[in-house]
């Protein structure tokens, strides 16, 4: 039983970081209809910036986390201005935006590879006092608590922002219909800016937390987590914030149990098998949000 709870707690901690990543991914898809594959690279960039600040400039963890988030958000906004806005103005097909985001992956990954000399970066041990709290046999490390806390604050903040502030409401209105909301006086450019910044900042936060959880930040980590992000958004319904949050935690828990009870080798496979099953049973995934938005000629599944 203790083991079960321990695995559950560990799973929730990593799952919380996945959630942040997935929410940012789904936000841009929901608001701007862009499948930004560079989200994984932005996530890695946030982690890389934070780990280099802590390791090389001896900046404490929390400020480094904040700088990493803001930088990741800025990279995402830059990407939007340089590529996605140009494509939207030319009314390019969805395919073009995905291809452009692949170009961005190559650029961001290559720069990070150079900055990090192709080596794995780690947070120095003194950045975190390794204190462990023992609750009835379940080990709670300080790092895990910090991860869950940061993730909870950010996710809560995002939900509050989307539900209660004017900007958040504009964002949600644009997600429903960009044309209608701009007729009603909402500036679509400002909404894009927010969506991309929030998305990038959450990716950056997720990256830093994952980097801390496994104490491993490397230039190639974006690809793997991009795939977890894909699983999470298919699982939770593309464009659904609550769905992505839940799905991230579910993936974390499932993975933790796989490592604990089956084998660590399988833990990377599990999310994909899950995804394959969803796609087999219901090929539209659990894309519940946009089922009405199909092109002509495709039967509603």
């Amino acid at each position: 039983m203790t083991r079960f709870v321990q695995l559950l707690v560990d799973g929730i901690a990593t799952g919380a970081a996945y959630s942040l990543f997935a929410v940012g991914f789904t936000l841009v898809f929901g608001v701007n209809r862009i499948l930004n594959l560079a989200h994984g690279a932005v996530f890695m960039a946030g982690a890389m910036i934070a780990v280099l600040l802590v390791d090389r400039a001896s900046i404490p963890f929390l400020p480094a986390l904040l700088i990493g988030m803001v930088a990741a958000g800025a990279i995402n906004v830059l990407l939007d201005i340089v590529a996605f806005r140009q494509l939207a103005r030319r009314q390019a097909p969805e395919f073009a935006a995905v291809t452009a985001s692949i170009g961005a992956i190559l650029i961001i990954t290559n720069i990070s590879q150079r900055v990090s000399d192709t080596s794995v970066q780690r947070f120095p041990p003194e950045a975190f006092p390794g204190s462990v709290i023992d609750v009835g046999g379940v080990q709670l490390t300080l790092i895990r608590l910090v991860i869950v806390l940061v993730a909870a604050v950010l996710a809560g903040g995002l939900i509050l922002y989307l539900r209660s502030t004017l900007y958040g409401k504009q964002l949600r209105a644009t997600a429903v219909s960009e044309a209608t909301s701009s007729l009603l006086g909402i500036n679509p450019g400002a909404v894009r800016l927010q969506a991309f910044f929030i998305s990038g900042a959450l990716a950056g936060a997720g990256g830093v937390l994952i980097g801390v959880a496994f104490n491993n930040v490397n230039f190639a980590m974006g690809d793997l987590y991009l795939l977890y992000g894909l699983v999470a958004i298919v699982f939770g319904g593309m464009g659904s914030v609550g769905g992505a949050l839940t799905a991230g935690i579910v993936i974390g828990i499932v993975q933790s149990f796989t490592v604990g009870y089956l084998s660590s080798q399988l833990s990377d496979a599990v999310p994909f098998v899950l995804l394959a099953l969803i796609l087999l049973v219901r090929p539209s995934g659990l894309f519940t949000v946009f089922t009405s938005e199909r092109r002509v000629g495709r039967a509603a599944a």
């Binding site: 291809t99 190559l106 795939l227 994909f272 098998v273 995804l275 000629g297 495709r298």
Partner: protein, 314 residues
């Protein structure tokens, strides 16, 4: 010439194999399917061919056919549900497919040899086999434009809504495009297995998927020359220009973004259109000079109306 041939043989063979993969990616894009399954399907073809040869002791051509049959089957199986979905979901699902397959290659150690892959596959492929394969595929693709399915592909790729309103079944033709793509991918994967002595999971993951997509996007998705030029240029360039090799990813990334924004049809198709427009203008000027008739109404061949006529008759 002989010296050049010997020293560059591995590169030339790799380019030929990758042109086959680019063709597989090109077919689906031409039909408006946003599938990125090519590399996964090539993996199915390569592993099946390798297993047929190593475990069953089948001769090389039979093993190759086995790989092609398997990858075509898998592609049709994948295409059945996916031809119902909208582009972006096809992309997500096929990307997931590639990764599920790669995970299977890594984890089904008994069958696939895990991360070491299948080794000791006899090297049976001669360079001319690869050339023949590319020529045959190119021939099929060029002539595809003269058949009904080919014209339907072009109509759907051009404008899906217009195609549907003229009675073209998007599902049926996209399903067919999946099959053809699987066939080409399986052939290329099988040839790779018999050229390379081995197949391993790293050859069939995310990075090669992106590479193949880049060849086609940069080259162009309309003309058959597009994937050929795209693949050749992007594989040969790092060998020719060292500074390019060192900064390959950054340059490719910048070029990719530039191309999708400013040359939406890829390099080859954009150039072809420029040339065609110029020729049409010249012809018009010449004729206007002679009898000052009305300007030409349109200058490009009416591919879509032809496809529409097919289906009106059907």
């Amino acid at each position: 010439v002989n010296q050049f041939w010997i020293s560059n043989k591995p590169l030339i063979e790799a380019i030929l194999i990758n042109i086959g993969l680019a063709f597989s990616q090109y077919v689906v894009l031409r039909a408006g399917v946003f599938s990125v399954a090519t590399i996964g399907l090539a993996g199915v073809g390569g592993y099946t061919a390798g297993l047929c040869s190593l475990r069953l002791g089948l001769p090389y051509p039979v093993a190759l056919l086995g790989g092609m049959a398997m990858s075509t089957g898998v592609s049709l199986l994948l295409g059945w549900p996916l031809s119902r979905l909208r582009g972006i979901f096809q992309a997500v699902a096929t990307l997931a497919f590639v990764l599920v397959l790669q995970t299977m290659m890594l984890d089904l150690t008994g069958l696939t040899g895990g991360s070491f892959g299948l080794n000791g596959i006899p090297r049976e492929v001669q360079t001319w086999h690869l050339m023949l394969a590319v020529v045959v595929m190119a021939f099929l693709l060029v002539n595809l434009g003269r058949t009904r399915p080919g014209r339907a592909f072009d109509a759907i790729g051009g404008d899906e809504t217009a195609a549907v309103t003229h009675g073209i079944s998007v599902r049926r033709y996209q399903f067919m495009a999946f099959g053809l793509s699987g066939l080409f991918a399986g052939l290329s994967g099988g040839l790779l297995a018999f050229q390379n002595y081995s197949v391993e999971p790293t050859q069939f993951g995310f990075a090669p998927t992106i590479d193949v997509l880049i060849y086609v996007v940069l080259g162009g998705t309309v003309s058959v020359l597009g994937p050929i030029v795209g693949t050749t240029v992007f594989m040969a360039l790092p060998e020719v220009a060292r500074p390019f090799a060192a900064n390959r990813d950054i340059i490719v990334g910048v070029v990719l973004i530039f191309v999708v924004i400013y040359l939406q049809d890829g390099v080859v198709d954009s150039l072809r259109r420029l040339w065609r427009d110029r020729r049409a203008r010249r012809a018009r000027e010449r004729r206007d000079g002679a009898d000052a008739g009305p300007p030409l109404a349109w200058s490009s061949p009416p591919t879509t109306p032809q496809a529409v006529k097919d289906h009106a008759e059907a």
